[in-house]
Amino acid sequence: MTEQTTSGIRYGMAIDLDKCTGCMACAVACQQENNVSFREDESDKLRSITWLEMFYLDNGKPYPEHRQAYLPRPCQHCDSAHDSPCTFVCPVNATKRDEENGLVNQIPVRCIGCRYCMAACPYHARYFNWWDTKWPKGMEQMLTPEVSTRPRGVVEKCTMCVHRLQLAMDKAFTEGRKELREGEYVPACVEACPAKAMVFGNLHDKESLVAKLAKSQRAFRLLPKLGTEPKIYYLTSQGWIRKLGDNVM
């Protein structure tokens, strides 16, 4: 199946914050698609597994200058040289960046739960399973069959719905194609966004919409000075939001 992927692919995303309404359909779709476990009481937000976290931003000014926005934060799938901050540190190779497509994956069956990757990630995009996974009665029937559930004691994170990539590649293979068409592989969050604020695709394909958006004047990335090279681009025309994308003295 490896032969079916083409080198030079860098999957990434563009999220238009001026379009995002903070409805969190993306977050819900992500939870459902990826069999993310939950508890009856999710009030402890520091232990709640939310692969796609929604951050609330405001400009800190009182009415009438007050402005607010929402920033959906999936894993940034960092493309820094050699390794991503998290893949670099994992002692057991339980998280790797697939150099054929740039996706940073997690191998839960190999993870020893040391949480070093969580310490390495400045975006808080990694989550530890603090409790045993228990589904409400009957819900296990609704789990996505392509995504394995994770046990207590391992780290998990957004995989950019990599199982969808596998399915798309299988389909392309049966149709005798080596390349995927644009839009053939899309993560659940992008598919669910009602405002079409999220665009996904190959950043190396100059003709793709995501590549064009990433080069737009409105595009910025989170914490670019750290050199993590995120593949998630945010779009906005509002200066105060862009300013929140990085630390400025």
Binding site: H82, R110, C111, I112, G113, W131
Partner: protein, 410 residues
């Protein structure tokens, strides 16, 4: 039975007294074991750890005890490699402390990882680029070396030594101890460094990230320097404590002064490089990523930590230990050694907890980490385990070679 095991020519407290002491230690250890079982059964949700604080008290303590256990490898290095023969008076104690620190840290680490049954994956699927892999390999190997260094002492027990085979085996082990001291020095140097490297390579965490030499960030060298500076201080503290408890003179004062002087010089050297590192980090690196020194500190993780680490528990004990009159005064020397050890503990704390507390994204927030009793109990048990091993070793093994001679003089 008990008296037959006690080394010849030395006096020990009554067995009843000793048994009561063991019961106290046993109770503390049982408390730790209970907490440990709870962690295994319920999971790490019983701790104060969270997705923001993936590391907490246990990692801080592990790093601190491993650093303070450096007295073993460094005293071994000075004794066997450099040839400071007078340190032979204290080398056994340093080895016992080292053994306690390393084995204790590993026991606590088993609790800290989410999947303890997969701990062996570190050897099976190692990521050779990870500093943690280097730490795991070196700690495992060095614990073996420490065991080899500890075994001859155990074999010197009065009853064991009577067995001809054991006697010769132990004698031969002593003969080749320089080889293990050298191996231990190499291994310990690397893993003390890689513990520092673990934080220094976190380029997503500006509080911890440091540039450096070749593949090693500056924290690699700083951790080695702080470990060899504070390790001998802990050895001195434990030696004094043992002398106080047993009301005996166990090591010549000159030996402790010598070790204190070495600790002082190393601490002074460490403070110079640490201050340079802090200056560069605060005034060159932090601004390059849009941050200031103030961005890294907020109550309760305030600037007081920096002051306490660098001045109160750094510069001050270094000056104290370097001043002959001060270090030759028991109280001042102990105070200086204590501050030195606390400084090392604060350093490991800030690299472990504050690295994670300081938010990196501008819209992120400071969070607080408060350990639960399930985290404190194994930590206390680790100290009790140390006290147990020191007590047993002191009672039944010739830990202090000059004990007989020093107490006769008295």
């Amino acid at each position: 039975m008990d008296s037959a095991l006690i080394p010849e020519g030395v006096k020990r407290c009554s067995f009843t007294q000793f048994a009561i002491w063991l019961l106290v230690l046993g109770a503390l250890m049982a408390w730790g074991v209970l907490a440990g079982l709870l962690v295994f059964w319920k999971g790490l949700n019983v701790t104060g750890l969270s997705d923001y604080f993936g590391f907490g008290l246990w990692i801080t303590v592990d790093l601190a005890v491993i650093a303070l256990g450096a007295g073993a490898f460094f005293t071994g290095f000075l004794t066997y490699i450099i040839g400071k023969k007078e340190l032979k008076d204290i080398i056994n104690l340093a080895v016992v402390i080292g053994f306690i620190c390393y084995t204790g840290a590993q026991l606590v680490l088993v609790l800290d990882i989410g999947q303890p049954l997969r701990a062996w994956f570190s050897f099976w699927h190692p990521n050779v680029h990870s500093m943690l892999t280097e730490v795991i390999f070196c700690i495992t190997c060095y614990t073996m070396v420490l065991t080899i260094e500890y075994v001859p002492l155990i074999l010197e027990n009065r009853q064991l030594d009577k067995i001809r085979g054991i006697h010769f085996f132990s004698h031969n082990l002593h003969e080749i101890m320089a080889l293990f001291a050298a191996t231990g020095t190499f291994l310990s140097f690397f893993h003390q460094g890689s513990l520092g490297g673990m934080y220094g390579v976190l380029f997503g965490r500006p509080f911890a990230f440091r540039e450096g030499f070749f593949i090693w960030p500056w924290t690699f060298f700083l951790f080695v320097a702080s470990a060899i500076a504070s390790g001998p201080s802990l050895t001195i503290l434990v030696c004094y404590l043992t002398q106080e408890v047993t009301k005996k003179k166990l090591v010549r004062k000159e030996v402790l002064w010598e070790l204190a002087k070495i600790s002082g010089y190393l601490l002074a050297f460490y403070m110079v490089v640490k201050l340079l590192d802090t200056w560069y980090w605060a005034y060159v690196y932090a601004p390059s990523v849009g941050l200031t020194l103030g961005s890294f500190y907020k109550a309760p993780y305030g600037l007081w930590l920096l002051f306490a680490e660098l001045v109160l528990c750094g510069i001050i004990p270094a000056v104290m230990l370097l001043t002959p009159k001060v270090r030759q005064d028991d109280v001042w020397m102990l105070a200086a050694c204590f501050l030195n050890c606390v400084g090392c503990l604060i350093n490991r704390f800030v690299f472990t907890v504050q690295t994670l507390a300081a938010p990196v994204m501008p819209f992120d927030r400071w969070e607080l980490y408060i350990p639960t009793w399930q985290e404190w109990a194994p930590t206390v048990a680790l100290i009790a385990y140390g006290a147990l091993l020191v007590s047993l070793s002191y009672r039944y093994l010739p830990v202090f070679p000059r004990e007989k001679e020093l107490n006769l003089i008295k």
